[in-house]
Amino acid sequence: MFFYYCDLAWRSIRKTPMLSMLMVLAISIGIGITITTLNVYKTMSYNPAGERSEMINSVQLWSQGLDTWDEFSSNITYMDAMILRNNVELELKAATFRTGLALQSDNPKIEPVLNSVRVTDRDFFKIFSVPFLYGSYWDASVDLRPAYQVVISQKLNLRFFEGKNSVGKTVFLNRKPYQIVGVIEDWNPQPKYYDPLNGAFNEAEEIFIPFSLTPQEEFEVWGNTNGWRTEPMLTYNDRLVSEKIWIQFWTELNTVEQKQSYQEWLTRYVEQQRAIGRFTDTAKTIPELVQISDVAKWLEDNNVVHKDTKILVGLSLMFLSVCLVNILGLLLTKFLKRAPEVGVRRAIGASRRQIFSQYMVEVGMIGFIGGVIGLLWAWGSLTALHAYFEVDQSLTGLDASMWFITPLIAISTAVLAGVYPAWVVCRTKPSVYLKAQ
């Protein structure tokens, strides 16, 4: 029966080509726009941590002077980072920031390039489940006693060592030799949730070096440094002992109890720092002195989803509803025009249910065609976004789920629009039309 209805629907669509085209056009444009904005929204709001979202936690402290800022800052000071790093109760913990260094190898043919570099602790790789191709992260002792060791990406390994296992070999960062201890597989989480502050959709760093090297190597900070008091920043040590915030701190907390006990520990720490007169702001009190954000909250707090995108999604859904009303009107028009035909069919025995389902199949078919064309529109507009507006590649790739979501939205939109007209037409009284004949 279904295929028979499909055949009938197709005939009916072909009988009124202009009207059908109008409907398909309306629905496809509505779908095209909605899918485009939804796709961007979806990729932006994606949580790359997945199931581990709640275990991966970032730490923020209420560590400021009077009347400074109203919300927790994403970063902490070097002094605080050092104390949090030394907390033995925590199993996994990593301080991290971004810098840039010039990379060279023994291969003289390859010109030095300035690379962005992640300065961090070994636990970073465990917390964020970074996959290794060769070797592994540096030894725990390196986090205490600095050593010139480095983890590089597969891509760099390919460029400098032709993809062979390079563990034990040396690369030069700012002309200093670093020993390679590990090569990671391609790892580029989008959004870049471990550091969305410098652009949530730029590429992951390809070089990782120990945080413990920071004081002696005086790495520049590629990222925000904020401060709430006037402090001299003449030497690197001024930065290290200042109240300037520029370091992110991550830890893994697996259970609610762990989270709670860590929260208490941190609260005591902030209280203690207040007592010695470091943090003077009193806007927040116990237990609000500390914020532990899991990945979902962290992404939300850092406004990874642009508010323009949210507005666009809202407006495009409204746009889709206009299309829906539009199609509703056109369908009503079309179906009512065929009322006499329905009257005859009813008179020779077609049930209301049959008439209704026949028309719903027709509507669904229009929705499906509209959806397919809408998907093409969406693909085209995403490509255009990437080409003309330098919107990041990761945001303009059509998400695989859209192949499923698009026809679903298209057909359900059309069906929604078609219910009323189909209902009206299946209630046609045969007698009226038979008389008119």
Partner: protein, 402 residues
């Protein structure tokens, strides 16, 4: 006469079609009003004058990775190299680049005593030498620029001078002239010596975007990563990149030169989100009007078919073609105006939602009004074509089928 009464009663008899039309118009007005308001907002943001000779300033970054390089000395040498290149008007080092979306922000206080000090609004904090103003192409409207012997190399040096942008001066000192005033960074005193007409900062969406300061510190001596701005005529900026690379590498090869772009390009990049939003919304508005118009045409066409008999009868009874067209137009306008009023109110409600959710400014009433007018124009075209066709129905057509 417009015959509103018979039109109304005929509308009331078959309600579903006009109700749908009404609904569509309500939604369209709400969307179009809000979208065009956002578009207009973004366009006016983008049209602001930055105060810079945007297409004449080539910016780039240098990273000296050889630990043996003395950054302060190298900076002096590099600036000399830049200024001696052919076609270069002037060049300077800088701590931040205008309209680049990244930079420094600071504030001054009016007293060294933290307890009683009142601080200025936050401003974009440019550090540079006596060349910087000329490189920027900014206009000094009061006071003077730094002189070569006034340039400091360190934050702890004494004799700090600053030029402030006029909007900042207005915001902090009102109508009083800021010239000669002393402000403080901690306990470091800074004397204001000049006022620059316009000097935007780095973040185009920041509320203090127009507040800027240039302080007399040659920043290129700090650290190994530094930015330079070079001014040349637009026809020369392209070729300059190659010349700079060559000259810098000849001087010392242990550096990475990167990010060559003009301030005009920086501006384009930082405004790209706004441009994108304006474009997407414009496309949406056009498509929406198109769909509404097409849907309307389709529906009117159907109505006319249904009313063929009625129209023919009216024609037979002496109605002119004009009357028939008028009938459909009035019917359409009635629906449009009712829909427009409701839609306009919905637009304001929606605007309010957007305002509270995303801290957008409130939609002014003019936008819904303009949207309704726009819609009236579009529907006129959408209705007039099928209506004219209807008017051509001959009286005979109507009577024949009976």
């Amino acid at each position: 006469m417009l015959h509103i009464k018979p039109i109304l009663s005929s509308l009331m008899r078959s309600k579903s079609a006009p109700v749908l039309l009404l609904l569509q118009i309500i939604l369209s007005v709400a969307i179009v009003a809000n979208a065009s308001f956002i578009i207009n907002e973004r366009l006016s943001l983008m049209q602001r004058d930055s105060g810079y000779a945007e297409d004449q300033i080539l910016t780039f970054s240098v990273y000296n990775f050889d630990p043996a390089i003395d950054n302060a000395k190298q900076n002096q040498v590099d600036q000399q190299i830049l200024r001696s290149l052919p076609n270069v008007i002037d060049a300077s080092s800088s701590n931040m680049l205008p309209l680049s979306d990244s930079g420094w922000m600071d504030r001054y206080t009016d007293s060294p005593n933290e307890d009683i000090a009142k601080s200025t609004p936050g401003f974009a904090f440019y550090l540079g030498n006596e060349h910087l103003l000329n490189v920027m192409g900014a206009k000094l409207i009061a006071g003077r620029n730094f002189t070569a012997d006034e340039i400091n190399t360190n934050f702890s040096d004494s004799g700090m001078l600053a030029m402030v942008s006029q909007p900042l001066a207005k915001a902090f000192w009102g109508d009083e002239s800021p010239l000669g005033k002393t402000v403080y960074q901690g306990d470091q005193a800074v004397t204001i010596i000049g006022v620059v007409e316009k000097l935007q900062g780095a973040w185009v969406d920041h509320e203090n975007f127009e507040y800027s300061v240039i302080q007399n510190i040659d920043f290129g001596g700090y650290g190994s990563n530094k930015s330079y701005m070079v001014r040349a005529l637009p026809e020369h900026t392209k070729g300059l990149e190659e010349a700079i690379r060559k000259a810098f590498h000849a001087e010392n090869p242990n550096r990475v030169l990167d990010n060559f772009q003009t301030v005009a390009e920086l501006r384009d990049r930082t405004y790209s989100n706004h441009r994108l939003m304006a474009t997407v919304l414009s496309i949406m508005v056009v498509l929406l009007l198109l769909i509404t118009a097409l849907g309307l045409t389709g529906m009117v066409m159907f109505n006319i078919q249904r009313r063929t008999k009625q129209i023919g009868t009216r024609r037979a009874l002496g109605a002119r073609k004009r009357d028939i067209i008028q009938y459909f137009m009035v019917e359409n306008y009635l629906i449009c105006i009712v829909g427009g009023v409701i839609g306009g109110m919905l637009a304001l409600v929606l605007g309010q939602q957007l305002m509270s959710l995303y801290s957008l400014p409130m939609v002014p009433v003019i936008y819904p009004i303009m949207s309704v007018i726009g819609l009236l124009v579009v529907t006129t075209f959408a209705v007039i074509v099928p209506a004219a066709k209807a008017a051509n129905i001959s009286p005979a057509m109507a009577t024949r089928s009976v």
